[in-house]
């Protein structure tokens, strides 16, 4: 399957948050801490993306620590699937 678009990943991120009664704001500069998006939430999102792509995305902990905003998450997953 071809790479997922940024909008598709955003929709999946929204699903992860909605399952916890949270909302994904429209502003990509929103801090993850502000919306309660944690490291395991990123893992869940990455696994959902992997499930769609049918291939594993490999990333290390330092890469994960550098994400601070909604936009960072979308950028990282975009980079990972194109790596």
């Amino acid at each position: 399957m071809s790479a997922l678009s940024r909008d598709q990943i955003r929709t999946m991120m929204d699903e992860v948050l909605t399952a916890q009664g949270k909302e994904l704001p429209a502003d990509d500069s929103t801090a993850l801490a502000e919306i309660g998006f944690r490291s395991l939430d990123f893992s869940e999102l990455a696994l959902r993306v992997e499930d769609e792509l049918d291939e594993e995305l490999n990333f290390d902990a330092p890469g994960l620590r550098s994400i601070e905003t909604v936009g960072d998450v979308l950028d990282l997953l975009d980079r990972l699937q194109n790596a």
């Binding site: 992860v16 916890q20 009664g21 949270k22 309660g36 395991l40 869940e44 696994l47 992997e50 499930d51």
Partner: protein
């Protein structure tokens, strides 16, 4: 605002049980079904008992012939089971092989085989399950069937004990790693009359029985209720190894 970390992890709805073809594994399969859960289970050899369960309860039981050391087969099984039953949100790591030899006389190949089956393959299966459950359900429960051997010394079981102690250690780490998403615990049975405990011999089993405060060896029926509570009850138990041995190890 609700948060995964602030609400109880739901009871299991679909449980993957490794090594469910007979003995304790089969008891755990039957017990999970009694609780209303769907069950996916595999073993190297699918027994007539499992075949009958699958035939009698289509859409509720999914069985397959899988060697737990085959990582690709594990993943394929999870995918096929989920396609039939829906998302799997709980795992019972039951499959294991035993040992009946002093380390002095156990070949390096046999040691490797025991570690590969009981420890490496179990962790690989747990990884595959967690990847599936995180993507499909987001939350869930994991139970490792370890052994009192991982805590106490019994002659002839050194490699086996190493794997069970290793699983208990991994269990505690996973409970923390999967923070708020998964309850991860172990049950550590004492010796019960099974093919695995038969390696101890009549004399050693008799000694263990005599030294057990409850005066009897453990039965699979004693393990099932504890696993049941870890899978279905809101106990908030997490990162614990529960020894079920009639007090034999105290």
């Amino acid at each position: 605002m609700s948060d995964f970390t602030q609400t109880p992890i739901p009871a299991a709805s679909c449980v993957l049980i490794s090594g469910g073809s007979r003995g304790l594994g089969l008891s755990l399969v039957e017990d999970a079904l009694k609780q209303g859960a769907k069950v996916a289970t595999f073993a190297r050899t699918v027994t007539p008992e499992l075949e009958k369960l699958a035939a009698d309860r289509p859409g509720e039981v999914f069985v397959g012939s899988v060697d737990i050391t085959d990582a690709k087969a594990q993943t394929a099984f999870i995918k096929a089971a989920a396609a039939e039953l829906g998302p799997i949100d709980a795992l019972v790591n039951n499959a294991a092989i035993g040992q009946d030899s002093m380390l002095l006389h156990t070949s390096p190949e046999r040691i490797g085989q025991i570690i590969e089956t009981n420890l490496t393959a179990t962790l690989v299966l747990t990884r595959a399950f967690l990847r599936h459950a995180m993507a499909k359900a987001g939350r869930g429960r994991v139970v490792f069937v370890t052994s009192v051997c991982g805590q106490r010394g019994y002659a002839g079981l050194s490699a086996y004990s190493a794997t069970k102690g290793g699983l208990d250690a991994a269990m505690r780490t996973l409970a923390r790693e999967m923070h708020g998403r998964f309850l991860v615990n172990s049950v550590a049975p004492g010796f019960f009359a099974s093919e695995m405990s038969s390696v101890l011999g009549t004399e050693q089993l008799s000694t263990i029985t005599r030294r057990t405060p409850s005066g009897r060896l453990v039965e699979p029926e004693n393990i099932a209720p504890v696993v049941r509570s870890l899978l279905f009850e809101d106990t908030n138990l997490n990162g614990q190894s529960l020894t079920i041995d009639g007090g034999g190890s105290i």
